[in-house]
């Protein structure tokens, strides 16, 4: 009780006395969190966007013969062996003919007098709509073309390959910049806290000499770190949310970008960011404090 009271009083005094530096540190934490969560938000939205772009991707497996019910089952089983898929559609010769005709449109006349079965029957495989699954599309196609009774396998080869490379590149960029940002954030926050505490080492030393226990000395600083982390990350995330709303309102309503359908970080992501910045600030304070406290 009296310990808690003393710690809170001490905390109040510290904040009152060093509010200038405190606010600067708070801003540093907030900006770091802002940058970090911003890049994370961009990443999740790109992934989301990628998912939507790839909704139309499908593998078309041309078959030698119109498959009977027995063969259909067997094909389905084989396909599912390789990977979960979203959908499997069988397209008969006649369906293929009708589609081709529809595609030719005005020029459909060229098909007059052709037998309705000159096109091959096929299976349309719609893969699961996530990046990891899409990245395996090439392997999938190779796997399918090695099965029996298959003429050839086709998919938006070119588009998918480009998409593939792009998603690989984005993954690399996100991992690299994520690592860089985490490193920088940790370093800068720790450095700032260190400088702030170093600026008050006289006070720490005096408390020690006057007979304060380690907890008595540490607790207010740890609480301070905790507050810094909590407020800093909240401010950072709040700003990000404001930015996000602004972009959403300005761009989504203007029509041409409606396709994007931005999403914010999910609640868990938010909580995790707040918790880890609290942890980071507290650990930063703790480590710096050790230097003073250990010399007891």
């Amino acid at each position: 009780m009296s310990f808690l009271f003393t710690v809170l009083r001490q905390l109040g005094r510290n904040l009152r006395q060093t509010w200038g530096v405190q606010i600067m540190t708070l801003l540093t934490v907030a900006l770091s969190v802002l940058i970090f969560s911003f890049s994370y938000l961009v990443y999740t939205n790109i992934v989301h966007f990628g998912d939507r772009l790839s909704e139309n991707i499908r593998l078309i497996v041309y078959l030698d013969e119109e498959p009977g019910p027995e063969l259909r089952k067997q094909l389905e089983r084989k396909i599912l062996q390789f990977d979960d898929v979203e959908e499997i559609n069988f397209v008969s010769r006649e369906q293929a003919y009708n589609r081709f005709k529809a595609q030719l449109g005005e020029n459909a006349a060229v098909l007059d007098g052709m037998p309705k079965n000159f096109l091959s029957p096929s299976v349309e495989v719609v893969p699961l709509n996530t990046l990891t699954h899409l990245n395996r599309l090439k392997d999938f196609s190779d796997y399918l073309s090695k099965m029996g009774g298959i003429q050839k396998v086709q998919f938006g080869q070119n588009w998918v390959e480009k998409f593939n490379y792009t998603s690989q590149l984005i993954t690399i960029i996100v991992i690299a910049s994520g690592a860089l940002l985490i490193l920088t954030t940790i370093f800068i926050v720790a450095h700032t806290i260190r400088l702030t505490i170093l600026g008050r080492h006289n006070e720490l030393e005096l408390l020690k000499l006057v007979g304060a226990t380690n907890n008595y000395i540490r607790a207010p600083f740890l609480l301070e770190g905790l507050l810094q982390g909590l407020l800093g990350s909240s401010i950072g995330l709040g700003t990000l949310y404001a930015l996000f709303l602004w972009v959403k309102i300005h761009f989504t309503t203007s029509g041409f970008m409606a396709i994007f359908d931005f999403t914010f970080l999910n609640p868990w992501g938010t909580v995790i960011i707040i918790l880890s910045s609290i942890l980071l600030c507290t650990i930063g304070s703790w480590v710096t404090m050790q230097r003073f406290v250990k010399v007891c």
């Binding site: 003393t6 006289n202 005096l206 000499l209 006057v210 007979g211 226990t213 380690n214 008595y216 007891c296």
Partner: protein
Amino acid sequence: MIEVIKVAKIYPPDINALHEISLTVSRGEMCFLTGKSGAGKTTLFKLICNMDQATSGLIEVDGQKMNLLRGRKLSQLRQKIGVAYQDFKLLPKRTAAENIAVSMEVSYKKPQIIRDRVCSLLDQLGLADKYNIPTGELSHGEQQRVTLARAVANFPTLILADEPTGNLDAVTTKRVMRLLSNCNKDGATILIATHDETIFRKSSHRVLEITNGRLKKMTGVPTVP
């Protein structure tokens, strides 16, 4: 109260500040430490209050070996030792009252008790009007008195006063000495390092002289009131 047995202190690389000093101060005694500038007075104080570790030898305070104390035990002993540092170690942005209160807060005294004690001390030292003034804005002599007030505030059983009157005029010096005498009468053991002959010449207390890190001369006999 204090047992110093063959204590030496060598600062790196080879500054020999104390040569095998031995010294006993009994409980309730008041005693002066004198010696030229650089003789080793502050160093001895630092060893006694565990700000620094002796190179060799043993120091016991209140029956506890200083070099073995750690953590909570050390904190508790420190709360019972009041030190008026030669360089003050005040927090310049805190008020005089807050600076004095620090030493009582660490042992969780009640705010009301702290306030009374602080007022009474400031009064005795002629600083009643400086209660709410940051110590950074006090004159040097005023800072020195605040330092002493902080040292005695928590009713310590041992008081180490390092040059408590270096920046004080004769009148104020008397006030300070009266405060210390009162503490002594209340049972505190007191050790005062000083150059000012006027404050110990006529007293009946023991005077120890350090010269070049050696305890050289003692005048007077241990006196316990």
